[in-house]
């Protein structure tokens, strides 16, 4: 409770971070309330190629419809749901794997580190997207597979961050003191080291979360996202690309949506990182 209040108080002095927080909050609310807020069903065709502001059966098509006549606003709202659910799931999974591997590599060093670091380097030596494409074209595009692909591709980066921090922390005197009082490796990693990673990892998670959202969008755009007709921001741009020159609203709306959501997390990360709260 006090922590929430402290964060809110901190945001008052950081207008930039506050804007980020507001954007994030907006999309979370949109995702939660999508069934209430959406004027239409996101997959039911209405009038194809309707411009923003057109009418359908007395109801306003605020952002128009797409090539199949589905209401774009409703698709955006439901799309927020899927992107947030998958982004959260993938980030949590990637952190579980990355933090565990990073702690082990950084604490034990030696052979454990060599093996884990080599595996991470192999994955990281792919351009990320090449990796996604290879994984998803072979195992097929589905929600679960997106989770797995994002985990495989992000965990090595997280591992590197954690490993670096752990290497530095394990050399601190308080770790030596813990060893001298008889504590074992598991206790030292989980109780002595892990809590000290909280600060850097929160910032890293915010940035990475934004990047995961971009990735999910890119996958949708390349046709490797959630299978149609699920409302997916990336797929919406892909589907409308052919007619974008005549109907730019079809690509602009999802582009604005994904950009503002990512921006929210990046601004938040910037605010969290800067302890002086300049700005």
């Amino acid at each position: 409770m006090t922590r929430v209040r402290r964060i809110l108080a901190a945001l008052r002095h950081r207008p930039v971070a506050a804007i980020g927080f507001a954007l994030v909050l907006f999309w979370f609310a949109a995702a939660l309330l999508a069934p209430v807020l959406a004027p239409f069903d996101p997959v039911t065709p209405l009038t194809p190629f309707a411009k923003p502001g057109a009418q359908h059966g007395g109801a306003l098509l605020l952002l128009g419809t797409d090539t199949l006549g589905r209401d774009i606003l409703s698709r955006l709202l439901f799309g927020a749901r899927s992107v947030l659910v998958y982004a959260i799931g993938a980030t949590v999974l990637a952190y579980a794997v990355g933090v565990t591997a990073g702690l082990a590599a950084g604490y034990y060093r030696g052979r454990t580190d060599t093996v884990l670091s080599f595996a991470a380097n192999v994955v990281l030596s792919f351009p990320v997207l090449v990796l996604y494409i290879l994984i998803l074209t072979t195992i097929g595009a589905s929600g679960l597979n997106i989770l797995l692909a994002v985990t495989v591709a992000s965990a090595p980066g997280i591992m590197r961050v954690v490993r670096g921090l752990t290497l530095e922390l394990r050399a601190r005197d308080f770790v030596a003191a813990a060893k001298l009082r008889g504590d074992g490796a598991a206790y030292i990693m989980l109780v002595e080291i892990l809590p000290n990673l909280r600060g850097p990892l929160v910032v890293d998670a915010c940035l990475r979360f934004g990047y995961v959202i971009i990735t999910i969008g890119v996958l949708g755009f390349l046709g490797l996202g959630l299978p149609p007709p699920a409302p997916d921001w990336g797929s919406m741009i892909k589907e409308a690309r052919q007619v974008a020159l005549a109907f730019p609203h079809m690509t602009l709306a999802p582009a604005v949506a994904i950009s503002s959501l990512v921006l929210g997390f990046n601004l938040l990360a910037d605010g969290l990182r800067d302890p002086n709260g300049r700005g």
Binding site: P127, V130, I133, G217, L222, A244, P248, A255
Partner: protein, 314 residues
């Protein structure tokens, strides 16, 4: 130095080996039928069987892998299943197109991001710093496919200044290069600019900068002579690593603007399950990644005289 390079070369070979095996295994697990893809859906089961037999598909997987590896070592990349021509014939021209695109992006992005980063970090906390920082956060938040949509809507739909696709069907045209380059620069410059800013801001707080100012040198001289070199070490390595990132962005941009480059080729090959083409593309990607990483390390060691003596107890 020689030892270091040899070690890296070994690392490169090992990474390529592991990656090629992983790709091979992944494709081995693919449920699709290669013969059906190549011969079309109207081929009979017998025709498919004959094709598979003729192409050695009934041999064990590791045997086929070793055959591919042996051919790779002689420089033969195999034949594309999708295009039915040697992989090299299609890979190298596409790669060249992407190199043109990437070179244009770097030529604009590097000076732009370094300049902005140095200006921002030079006087930390000033309005110029905040403005540059926020601009770079905003631009890195817009994914390539979204900014491609924005820029197309503006320059193609609203203003009509630029062509909407970049297939270069009528030969090379620089106007078709503008939007792909702009999209990539927009997405990538912010990261390098922020790195440069952080590095510059850190250097400006160092006591030796104060020493230089207290000698009575002007701020300009201090920035140019004392701060710049130390501040650019970290961003320089980041730029080299950025090449690797660029390859990801290139896939999206080439696919959006129908530019015939390496990224689009990789996507097509993957969607088709064109094994030898995928393997070749993956090898190229790994070589690019490891070579840039190595260059970054070498550059870092040369730029920083301290690193030679770092480590060891005091």
């Amino acid at each position: 130095m020689l030892f270091f390079l040899l070690k890296r070369l070994g690392m490169l070979a090992l990474t390529m080996l592991v990656v090629s095996i992983v790709v091979f295994l992944l494709l081995e697990l693919t449920p699709g039928n290669v013969a059906a893809k190549v011969l079309g859906q109207y081929a009979t089961a017998e025709q498919q069987r004959l094709w598979l037999e003729a192409n050695g598909y009934f041999d064990p997987a590791f045997e086929r892998y070793l055959r591919w590896l042996a051919k790779l070592l002689t420089g033969d990349l195999g034949e594309s299943l999708c295009y039915k021509v040697p992989v090299g014939d299609i890979l190298w021209p596409r790669l060249l197109n992407t190199v043109v695109l990437g070179a244009a992006v770097l030529a604009i992005m590097v000076p732009l991001s370094l300049t902005l980063g140095v200006i921002a970090g030079m006087r930390e906390g000033r309005p110029s710093d905040r403005a540059i920082s926020i601009i770079s956060i905003v631009t890195t938040s817009v994914p390539e496919f979204a900014s491609a949509a924005f820029l197309s809507a503006l320059f193609v739909f609203a203003l009509g200044w630029l062509p909407g696709t970049s297939a270069m069907s009528g030969g090379f045209d620089w106007r078709e290069l503008v939007l792909p380059v702009a999209v990539l620069v927009l997405y990538d410059f912010g990261y390098v600019a922020r790195m440069t800013r952080a590095s510059m801001a850190d250097v400006m707080t160092q006591p030796y900068i104060r020493t230089a100012l207290l000698k009575g040198l002007t701020f300009r001289v201090v920035v140019l002579r004392h701060a710049l070199r130390n501040a650019l070490i970290a961003p320089f390595t980041v730029i080299l690593l950025q090449v690797n990132w660029l390859l990801s962005g290139v896939i999206v941009v080439e696919s959006f603007f129908a530019y015939k480059g390496f990224g689009a080729l990789l996507l097509e090959a993957s969607l088709f399950g064109d094994i030898f083409l995928i393997e070749a593309c993956a090898m190229v990607a790994v070589v690019v990644a490891v070579v840039t990483q190595t260059l970054a390390d070498i550059a870092y060691a040369y730029l920083s005289p301290r690193i030679r003596f770092a480590g060891g107890p005091v």
